[in-house]
């Protein structure tokens, strides 16, 4: 690891200034659980760090609003996961947080930084000699034709099949969350669905954020579908493991009829993946084991599989189906 300049602004205003002053190769560091990890692997080598972890004004959150839930980007994952209102009214959001990483990491990682968690692709993290278009554009992709068990089957390209590893962004995608950002050029709002890019020919560009653009806030529109929601995470270990397949599902039902279905997928795609075809197929019909299964299958019609990750098509479909039935159960009891 090369040394770096370091600035720790204490207000958002100062952070924007620090970002304006910093070199173009500066990186924003918050909890550090992704960036510092990758610096230790010599995958990231920033010349400067702007530490935003002490922006106290961004650590608050409010889940009691009548129009939207508001999460300061520097709030810790563990604090939001422990929120009783969220656990009751939006179990998918709470579950996506406490099923992620470990208690220690959740005490460090911020909900803003977590959106930008980078892939766990071992060829990406392993450095040389593995070619990796994400790490070194144009060098190739070792995962294609390699050990791709954990890799993506949706949203892949001939340049990259790395899976987006996060959980929280997947749950947020199901609820059409919005992100507020600031940069030296001003503020803007980004729908979560537009934050992450598919790899295409440029897998090194993972989001639409500019290097000096700071996520300050995450907003989730209030919906009654929140209560009938779940984040269903299937992984090898019972805890402390990344998803092989996950589904964030939220429902609004009227009797047996589905009025609203929200499905987002993790562990199977190159970015948080909204399964809109599956959602549409469920609308207006009764949710049964059969229709849930059909919706699950529909979500993977475009899947492209490699040598070892074919099972994700079946596992993903079953995960969606099971998540739908869990959410339906919560609709009944709420």
């Amino acid at each position: 690891m090369r040394s770096f300049a370091y600035a720790r602004p204490l207000t958002v205003m100062a952070a924007v200034q620090a970002l304006a002053d910093a070199s173009p190769h500066a990186r924003i560091i918050a909890g550090g659980t992704t960036l510092y990890d990758l610096m230790k692997l010599n995958i990231e080598a920033p010349q400067a760090l702007v530490d935003v972890s002490r922006l106290g004004e961004l650590t608050t959150f409010d889940t009691s609003g009548t129009r939207e839930l508001v999460f300061g980007a520097m709030a810790r994952m563990s604090d939001i996961a422990a929120d009783r209102t969220l656990q009751t009214d939006y179990p998918a959001l709470a579950e996506s947080l406490w099923l992620a990483a470990s208690p220690q990491v959740r005490n460090m990682a911020t909900v803003g930084g977590n959106l930008l968690q980078r892939t766990r692709c071992a060829y990406f993290r392993g450095g040389a000699p593995y070619p990796c278009n994400k790490r070194q554009p144009g060098s190739g992709c070792a995962a294609i034709g390699g050990l791709d068990r954990s890799h993506a089957i949706l949203g892949t390209s001939t340049s990259c099949v790395a899976v987006y590893p996060g959980d929280w962004a997947v749950a947020l995608a199901a609820f059409d969350a919005q992100l507020d950002t600031v940069s030296p050029r001003g503020e803007r709002t980004i729908p979560i669905d537009e934050l992450h890019r598919e790899p295409g020919e440029t897998p090194h560009l993972e989001t639409i954020l500019k290097p000096d653009e700071l996520i300050v806030r995450i907003r989730v529109p209030v919906t009654v579908a929140g209560r009938a929601s779940t984040y269903h995470k299937i992984r090898d270990r019972a805890s402390y493991a990344f998803a092989l397949a996950s589904a964030a599902v939220a429902l609004r039902v009227d009797g047996d009829t589905v009025r609203e279905a929200r499905i987002a997928l993790g562990g199977v795609a190159t970015r948080p993946w909204r399964a809109r075809d599956a959602e549409r197929a469920l609308m207006g019909g009764a949710l049964t084991e059969g229709s849930a299964r059909a919706a699950g299958e529909l979500a993977f019609t475009a899947a492209r599989t490699g040598q070892y990750n074919r099972f994700k098509v079946e596992l993903g479909a079953r995960t969606i189906a099971e998540a739908l039935m869990i959410a339906k159960g919560r609709a009944k009891t709420s």
Partner: protein, 734 residues
């Protein structure tokens, strides 16, 4: 000999320091003026170094030294531990330019700070000439060798051929013929391998957690060309090892060399990702098991054929069928073991090195036979017990496998099991499976010297050749002394893991207790006799210190030696050279094994097929249990290993690149707390009447012989899917 005991339940004698973080492991030593080191490793699968460019590294602020192959003149490779060496493999990196495998060290950077050493290591670049390589059992270029034809000692490494297995198999009305595969694994103790080396004039002190301080001392002296008298190796504790730290690794001598060159102490903590390539690992194996039985359920024949990976440069032999031949009383048994040479570091020992995979294969096959016969798998095993060893015709020193099975079945509630697969469910549809498997592990004994000193101020100090690595060796030897001297175990101070003491043999292979406890016990008996001579009229309640004070003697010291039955005295000479000197499991008058039975319940979720293990019952026959509390923990730990081996662990190999891809603890999945349910353990606790004066056999390894098979058999019972490879993952059950 029936030995002492039963022994009282005593708290772990070193636990108080461990819960306070006060226990010193190798890397916890921090001598003044310490420099920090980092390794640079090869990025090619095989070939030759053309050039190592160290200029950029040397330019990093704080970097003091960069060692490459050009700085190792005069250094000698010590040699492979199975070839009269003390190293885990014959290749000593950075002697010469050959690259035998990906991840082999090519440079050592030393700096004033760890951060500078890391940056320096990142700045080293190298040019190579590459060569073709093969790294998996089935890769093109893999060389297949019949073990029986290799220059390995016979009969230890000969194929077994008892009776006429092929004829009996051909005639058997019920047969099983199946192939089972096991993945490579890494030991991954949580402690990283680390070396702290400092020189005082021409005397070298090394702090390094290891299972074998004498081996490192002798090996280092040989490599550096200095007298072993000038080397001291200190390892009072070991932060887990499981076979990984049983021999010398490449970094030790390099760190010593750097410390000598710089004239200041140097510490290297090897990063986890590098450990995957700089220590041994459990090689992948393939087993073909054929079983034949009559319709009444008598197993008449078994043929066990094994292919196991080894390195291009060393022969890591398979000893798996030593155990599989003894699991059950099968009168016709034939084995054939083959090695496959590949371009990896030499694979080696990992808890139940061969037996974990061999028992998975063999005990899965027994389960398949039980279903072919429609016989309860516990009952089938009970019906195939024999009181003697079919391989040698000798008696077992003790064999209580039937009791393990009966007691385990009772504790587990096995009688309520329904035979048919998919016949047991929870109300929510979760599939329930109950599986059983047995295990065995050779009893082996290495030479041991125990020095016991009592002082008139109440001190009782035992110095004995065994390494504490969490298994509870300190408890066991303290208990043995305490039992004889009628004191509490925590009154006995145990000095272990320092070459200043009597030379210790390598502690491994579950022989620690059967090696050190008899020596410690003998020393205590000798001490008791010596004290009796000092004051023959002393009352039963007299303490050693009281007797010494009465006799006006400040201290009394005795030394006792112990070796395996029938072992020549030459074993002590080999031990003093840091060489392997164990004997067993075949002794002149008997054959000795530990035995075990595991009962496992799995739950398989019907849709997503996640497998959970809510409860396990394990009963072990390890002879007399000297330290009940630590033994129970060790046994539970072995079961955790079995669950990990069955459902989680695999070192992933990409044949295009060599090395191991998932070289960290996020991608190499060892069980977490939430993976583990209730584990109930029990012991037969009957002293072995033949093996040694304390009646003890081994425990640490047998604990991991069979649990993976019991999990696999339970998965079959739950799902009807017979998965014949490890690990069993979701995709196998969807």
């Amino acid at each position: 000999m029936t030995g002492p005991g039963p022994f009282p339940d005593v708290a772990r004698v070193d636990a108080r320091d461990k819960v306070r973080g006060m226990t010193p492991y190798g890397a916890d030593n921090h001598p003044p003026n310490l420099a920090h080191a980092m390794l640079v490793t090869a990025q090619i699968g095989k070939g030759r170094l053309v050039k190592v460019d160290t200029d950029a590294a040397r330019a990093v602020a704080g970097v003091q030294l960069v060692l490459t192959h050009q700085d190792t003149e005069g250094l000698k490779a010590d040699g492979y531990l199975f070839a009269n060496g003390r190293s885990f493999q014959s290749v000593q990196p950075m002697i010469g330019t050959a690259i035998a495998y990906r991840g082999q060290p090519i440079a050592l950077v030393v700096a004033d700070s760890l951060e500078a050493a890391i940056e320096g290591a990142e700045q080293v670049s190298a040019e190579y000439v590459t060569a073709p390589f093969s790294v998996t059992l089935d890769s093109e270029g893999t060389e297949i060798l019949a073990q029986a034809d290799l220059p390995l000692p016979k009969p230890a490494f000969a194929d077994k051929n008892v009776g006429d297995a092929d004829a009996a198999l051909a005639a058997a009305p019920v047969t099983v013929d199946a192939v089972y595969d096991s993945a490579p694994q890494h030991q991954n103790p949580i402690e990283l391998i680390a070396t702290v080396a400092s020189w005082d004039g021409d005397e070298l002190t090394v702090y390094e957690s290891t299972q074998h301080v004498e081996g490192i001392r002798q090996g280092l002296a040989f490599e550096l060309g200095i007298s072993p008298d000038k080397v001291r190796v200190i390892s009072p504790f070991c932060g887990g090892s499981f076979g990984q730290k049983n021999a010398m690794h490449a970094q030790t001598v390099l760190v010593a060399l750097a410390a000598r060159t710089l004239g200041r102490p140097v510490k290297l903590v090897v990063p986890r990702s590098q450990l995957f390539h700089n220590t041994s690992f459990r090689p992948p194996t393939r087993h073909r098991v054929r079983l034949g039985a009559d319709r009444a359920g008598k197993i008449v024949a078994a043929v066990h054929e094994i292919d196991q990976q080894t390195s291009r440069h060393d022969l890591f032999p398979s000893m798996a069928t030593d155990t599989s031949a003894r699991l059950h009383g099968i009168p016709n048994f034939r084995s054939r073991e083959r090695l496959r040479r590949t371009d990896v570091q030499t694979p080696g020992f990992m808890r139940a090195p061969w037996e974990h995979a061999a028992a998975f294969a063999f005990e899965s096959a027994i389960d398949e036979l039980a279903y072919a016969l429609d016989r309860d798998p516990v009952e089938l095993r009970l019906a195939n017990e024999l009181p003697y060893d079919v391989v040698t015709g000798k008696p077992f020193s003790s064999r209580h496998l039937s009791e393990c099975l009966r007691r385990g079945a009772e504790l587990f509630g096995w009688a309520r099991r329904r035979m048919a697969p998919r016949s047991m469910r929870e109300t929510d549809g979760t599939l329930v499976g109950w599986g059983v498997a047995t295990g065995a592990y050779p009893s082996v004994i290495s030479p041991s010297i125990a020095q016991l000193r009592v002082t008139d101020d109440g001190g009782i100090v035992l110095n004995v050749g065994v390494q504490e690595m969490g298994q509870g060796a300190r408890n066991a030897v303290a208990a043995a002394v305490a039992d004889v001297l009628k004191v509490r175990a925590d009154q006995v101070t145990t000095l272990l893991g320092d070459t200043k003491g009597p030379p210790p043999h390598l502690t491994a292979g579950s022989w620690g207790t059967a090696t050190a406890v008899p020596a410690a016990r003998q020393a205590a008996i000798d001490m008791r006799e010596a004290l009796r001579k000092l004051q023959p009229e002393a009352s039963n309640g007299a303490t050693p210190a009281g007797i010494l004070r009465h006799a006006k003697r400040p201290f009394l010291e005795v030394e006792a030696r112990h070796q395996a039955p029938g072992a020549p005295d030459a074993v002590f000479d080999r031990m003093k050279q840091g060489l392997l000197a164990y004997v067993g499991p075949e002794f002149p008058e008997f054959v000795s094994f530990s035995f075990i039975a595991h009962f496992v319940e799995v739950h398989v979720e019907p849709a997503t097929c996640r497998v959970r293990v809510p409860r396990v019952v394990t009963v072990a026959d390890c002879g007399r249990v000297v330290s009940p509390r630590t033994a129970a923990s060790q046994l539970r730990g072995g079961v955790v290993w079995g669950i990990g081996g069955a459902l989680r662990e695999a070192s992933e190999v990409d044949p295009r690149y060599g090395g191991f891809l998932n070289a960290d603890l996020a991608e190499y999945l060892v069980p977490v707390n939430a993976d583990i349910g209730d584990i109930q353990v029990d012991f037969v606790d009957k002293p072995d009447p033949m093996l040694n004066n304390a009646g003890v056999k081994g425990l640490g390894e047998v604990a991991n012989v069979g649990p993976a098979a019991a999990v696999a058999n339970a998965v079959y019972h739950a799902t009807g899917r017979r998965v014949r490879h490890l690990p069993i993952r979701i995709e196998d059950l969807l």
